[in-house]
Symmetry: C2
Subunit: 242 residues, 2 copies
């Protein structure tokens, strides 16, 4: 194996703005396994930079001689390849239930969040990515980014409904995965890290249990997630606007 593990990681105009929820799943899974990684900032339109992976999306992880993409594939690879490091899933039944939580975060949570975050994500992108992002997302949602912004109140109401079972669960326990964080926490936290990096909105107003759990995840793994600048830091140079 090569000495350095490398991962292409989606970045905004400010290369410290690492906002992809799928890349965060992988970064937290690597940290959970105690595996250092060098991240390479990547933009949506830099398809040629990851062409070696045989597809066009991040995360792309190079681990020694292996090249992997798709966060769920990577998580399963890490669990199988590094079985002596702390488990991401907690056995067969844990893996099975984590698969549902992973799918829920992708299909339900992230869809609800992107309807709120879309205009803010567009605003932090590198200028060379903005046309690509606008075109692909406006086609996906069947409306302009500006129309999504105009529907924010409706979309916030829908998002709140999606957050309710998560908040109720975290009222009764400190982590989704049990006594400490594992991959079920990583995938759901990654969605809130996405919001934290890409948007000035406090989307957890009224969801105290999720907010407290998010703080625990920001502190986990030596404060890995907290070390990535939040939206106000990259957009306003670290100065909170009055």
């Amino acid at each position: 194996m090569s000495a350095v593990r490398k991962m292409h990681d989606l970045a905004g105009a400010d290369e410290r703005a690492r906002f992809s929820p799928y890349c965060w799943r992988t970064r937290l899974a690597l940290a959970h396994k105690g595996l250092p990684v060098e991240t390479i900032p990547w933009r949506f339109t830099e398809k040629e930079a990851i062409a070696f992976s045989g597809q066009g999306f991040v995360p792309v992880l190079v681990d020694g001689e292996r090249c992997l993409s798709d966060s769920w594939t990577i998580a399963q690879y890490l669990e199988e390849t590094y079985p002596d490091a702390p488990s991401l899933f907690g056995g067969v039944s844990g893996l099975a239930m984590t698969r549902f939580i992973n799918q829920w975060a992708t299909d339900t949570l992230n869809l609800a969040l992107v309807r709120v975050l879309l205009p803010d994500i567009h605003a932090i992108l590198h200028p060379k990515d903005q046309h690509y992002f606008r075109t692909t997302r406006e086609k996906r949602f069947g409306m302009t980014i500006e129309a999504v912004r105009d529907a924010r109140e409706t979309n916030l109401t829908a998002m709140n409904a999606v957050l309710r079972p998560l908040n109720a669960t975290l009222t009764g326990q400190d982590f989704l995965s049990g006594t400490g964080p594992a991959y079920a926490d990583h995938v759901v936290f990654a969605s809130f890290q996405w919001a934290r990096v890409a948007s000035p909105l406090n989307i957890l107003d009224g969801f105290e249990a999720i907010a407290a759990w998010r703080e625990r995840l920001l502190d986990a793994y030596g404060g890995l997630a907290r070390a990535t600048p939040a939206h106000f830091e990259t957009v306003h140079g670290g100065q909170l606007t009055p």
Copy 2:
């Protein structure tokens, strides 16, 4: 302990129509633990019949000298009281993730389903329950049962979005809980059993993985869930209408 375990179980006009998703959670959990139970048909307005439990909802389980209500409380009680029987959760991490799936089924899945099923549920109720059901549900949803029926197409679209991550998960594995069914399967299946008993709609059209998994759960535990008549059996006396 007394010789017979008893559970009050919500029934429709036909007392064989056992449609409560919360009661089904408990019946399947008991079957999983190998614990026989005598079910007592109960209607919404028979509050005095379960007053001994200190509250007004089913399931109510009497297990020897213990009286319990609330399906999640009952599941945890069964796991603690019968540790040598097959596990409902699969350990600490399994319990933690099951809690989220249980909460998702309650807050998201059942809410999406009831917006589709409400008029059908009302129609199968014992006449003495219909006024109570109409009053409480119309207050909860802020609209009449007839208005809910008029919005069925919209509500089906919303339900389909909720089912998507479940279908994707069950495309990749046979059960939510791992290699066999456990409580995560019970709580989610219970929602589809509710639909099967209360409504003539085939809500799983287009969701083949969920439909195949539902068949596996209908067969589980000696065909317990399949033994309860589906909607067409109680409403049309077992004859499929042309």
